[in-house]
């Protein structure tokens, strides 16, 4: 006898690979175990307003990309008459509008959808800016030096230095008041940090609050320590980035560059949306990524097709379980799976009624055909045409009667139905109607079970999102193929054998 060890090793490998794939996908791509979870999306709209006097206009607005805590999903811009382009330079993205001449009040709109995503992979965020040392006039030079010295003496590293510096600048003392008259706290903080060779820059951020309109950007100080950075609020010296803080401009550039207009300002409106996880993820991974092996990367139409196919192994497993472990007889091994797939399209009740109607009518017509003494292939072909006829008639009648559900009867696999009718008809002739009811009922029962499993929200979610499941199913089916124990129905069948030995 062949050693079973390689077999069990194979099963184990399949199983382990399947579980690993599933877990990997859950962890890396944040695919949840249960369906119905939603992800938060912020739609932020920037409105740029300015006055034009008839000169050519070039307006360039800084726009955000994927960053810590947020994944960029998509964007759109609207402004009639303007030419529009998106530019990206050293990961700094800008939207640029242009027009030859415009007069009067102008409004430009830019809208971006950002996914709240703790697993976001930032694009080019942590390049520290160049150090720029400035020389100040008196009295600012001496005050600044004093402030800086005090802050430095109380600090240990870049971050604590920044914190102490902001505290000094916002302590409302004589010195700080004088400094703040000249420049704002954020600019002072950045410039003074630069004097001590600490890379820092002012970034412009947006506090996300649902339904807010015409919000301005707020300034934050970004302080670098190597590749790492921290954000500081220049008014309170608070360290860290709140979850609802979206960085909008963070490349040491201007928020808005405008040529040819004046009185410009940019304001922001935002709304929060809940999006089902699948939709959110498919938008996140819309860009093809070889490593991201999932059906989300397929076009939508192919996705739907694939989702149907991915359910078949589940139905097949149900049949395998019922045949090997329970011992149910069905007419045609996997016919119930195909019927179950049809049920998914038609809904259970319509499907059952349709199936019984078609097979019942088919059996009646088939009994006439058997008198005609036809060759087998011709007879089955006749049954197929008959089945199509029934389906057409049912669909039309149902439609006329206003039952749109009835139209779905066309989803039944016709060739399979024809063979089912043929087999049942022979069964009827040879073994009588009881056996037909038994096998037909058995098939319908298995189909119903397969349908209930395949249509289950959780099963569908897992099957669509975790392709590793297919490997696990494979391992289970292989193991079942090796099962030599009794079937459930055999326990009943052989019961008399056990009873006897008790009596004697």
């Amino acid at each position: 006898m062949v050693s079973r060890q390689p077999f069990y090793l194979l099963v184990f490998l399949l199983f382990a690979a399947g579980v690993a794939l599933v877990v990997y996908r859950h962890i890396t791509f944040d695919v949840p175990w249960i369906p119905g979870e939603t992800r938060q999306i912020w739609s932020v709209e920037a409105k740029v307003e300015f006055d034009a006097v008839g000169d050519p206009i070039l307006a360039s607005l800084a726009i955000p990309s994927t960053q810590r805590g947020f994944t960029f999903l998509n964007e759109q811009a609207a402004s009639p008459g303007y030419g529009l382009s998106f530019t990206e330079e050293e990961s700094e993205r800008r939207a640029e509008w242009s027009i030859r001449n415009a007069i009067g009040k102008q409004e430009l709109y830019y809208r971006v959808d950002m996914l709240v995503d703790p697993f976001a992979i930032p694009s080019g965020m942590s390049t520290s800016p160049e150090i720029q040392k400035r020389i100040y006039e008196e009295p600012y030079a001496s005050i600044a030096t004093a402030v800086l010295e005090r802050a430095e003496s109380r600090s240990a590293d870049h971050y604590t230095l920044a914190k102490e510096l902001i505290k000094e600048l916002t302590n409302l003392g004589q010195e700080s008041k004088l400094l703040l008259q000249h420049k704002d706290a954020a600019s002072w903080t950045v410039e003074l940090l630069n004097l001590l060779d600490v890379p820092a820059r002012t970034v412009r951020a947006l506090k996300l609050e649902d339904g807010r309109r015409r919000q301005p950007l707020v300034d934050y100080v970004q302080v670098f320590k190597g590749e790492q950075y921290q954000l500081f609020d220049p008014n309170t010296a608070d360290q860290g980035q709140a979850d609802n803080l979206l960085l909008w401009e963070y490349h040491s550039g201007a928020l808005l560059d405008l040529v040819g207009g004046h009185n410009s300002r940019a304001t922001f409106s935002m709304i929060e949306q809940e999006l089902p996880v699948n939709a959110a993820l498919s938008r996140k991974y819309a860009d093809h990524d070889i490593l991201n092996f999932s059906i989300d990367s397929l076009p939508l139409e192919e996705q739907t097709l694939f989702k149907g196919i991915l359910l078949i192994p589940i139905g097949v497993l149900v049949v395998v379980l019922l045949r090997i472990l329970v011992g149910l007889k069905t007419s045609g091994t996997f016919m119930p799976v195909l019927i179950a797939i049809a049920f998914i399209q038609t809904s259970l009740l319509t499907g059952m009624v349709g199936f019984i109607l078609i097979v019942g009518l088919g059996l009646i017509m088939r009994s006439y055909l058997s008198h005609l003494n036809l060759l087998l292939v011709a007879r089955i072909s006749a049954v197929i045409i008959m089945v199509i006829g029934f389906i057409a008639i049912f669909a039309v009648i149902a439609y006329k009667a206003g039952l749109t559900e009835g139209m779905k009867i066309t989803f039944f696999p016709m060739i399979i139905l024809a063979w089912t009718i043929e087999r049942m008809s022979i069964l009827w002739e040879e073994e009588g109607p009881r056996e037909v009811a038994k096998q037909g009922g058995g098939s319908l029962f298995v189909a119903m079970l397969a349908y209930l499993v395949m249509d289950n929200e959780y099963v569908r979610h897992i099957a669509f999102n975790f392709l590793g499941l297919q490997l696990i199913l494979m391992a289970v089916v292989l193991l079942l193929g090796n099962y030599t124990g009794y079937r459930l129905l055999e326990l009943k069948r052989f019961k008399p054998l056990v009873d006897e030995s008790k009596n004697t």
Partner: protein, 328 residues
Amino acid sequence: MSWLSSLASPRALSKKGILGMNERNIAYISRYNPRRLYPLVDDKLQTKEIAVESGVTVPELIGVIRHQHEIKHLKQLLADQTGFCIKPAQGSGGKGILVITGRNEQRFIKSSGVEVDVSSLERHVSNILAGLFSLGGKNDVAVIESLVHFDPVFSDFSFEGVPDTRVIVFKGFPVMAMMRLPTSASEGKANLHQGAVGVGIDICSGSALKAVQFDRPINKHPDTGKDLFNLQIPQWDRLLELSASCYEMSGLGYLGTDMVLDKHLGPMLLELNARPGLSIQVANGMGLLPRLKQIERLGKKGPTRASDRIAYVKEHFCVPSSVQNKPA
């Protein structure tokens, strides 16, 4: 839960050595029956040929119809025949077997007593050729053979139809036997699941051990009222010998042989089955596994000649007459 009590515990079954369907398929059929030998038993014509070659008695072949255009010769072929049966060479489970027991001038009398004309037989043959009764619907040939004149010793044990004897032959050892008696419930067919009576037969003596119908024990034939425990198969040794020799003839290690008793010719082979069912255990009131395992343990050291194998079986698998649960 009441339905649970209608189930046997798997441990109890396993203790009795009952062979289940899954284990039969994996541990016996797929291990001992090479796939390439299946056509020998699935095609009754081939079975007949190899049986004749190796000197096993089979019912006489009247003719074979291989093509639709040969059907018109059917009438001529059957001109002198009174009792015969038409079967698909590759039929399964007794499907498509038409038994004609007599003639009424030009009309044929079926075993059920219904008279049919020759066109009805032609249609039946046409269905056979088209593959209606064969596995997977592939084209088939129709085999016409003379009717077995079954031994009148069984006439009181059977309702219409022909009773046959199923012997499970494992690696050439006849391990268990059962007689299948048609009843009115089974419409004259010898299929247990249709209601035929299964009688467990002591492998040593050919006498009845126990009888069941629909898997439940009975004592008397439901139609004739005959006490089933009086059943004794004549020429038992000859029948065992024929069964055992089917191993060499077919090469199949796990085999069901269906034997009938002809009034003139004695035991003869009706057909072979590469996937014999499990009801024989119910009819015998015992599991197959202990005997199968005992023979597996013999390995290559066991007896090789058919007569030695039978002697081995008679030595080891006898049911002592005290245990034979004859009802008072």
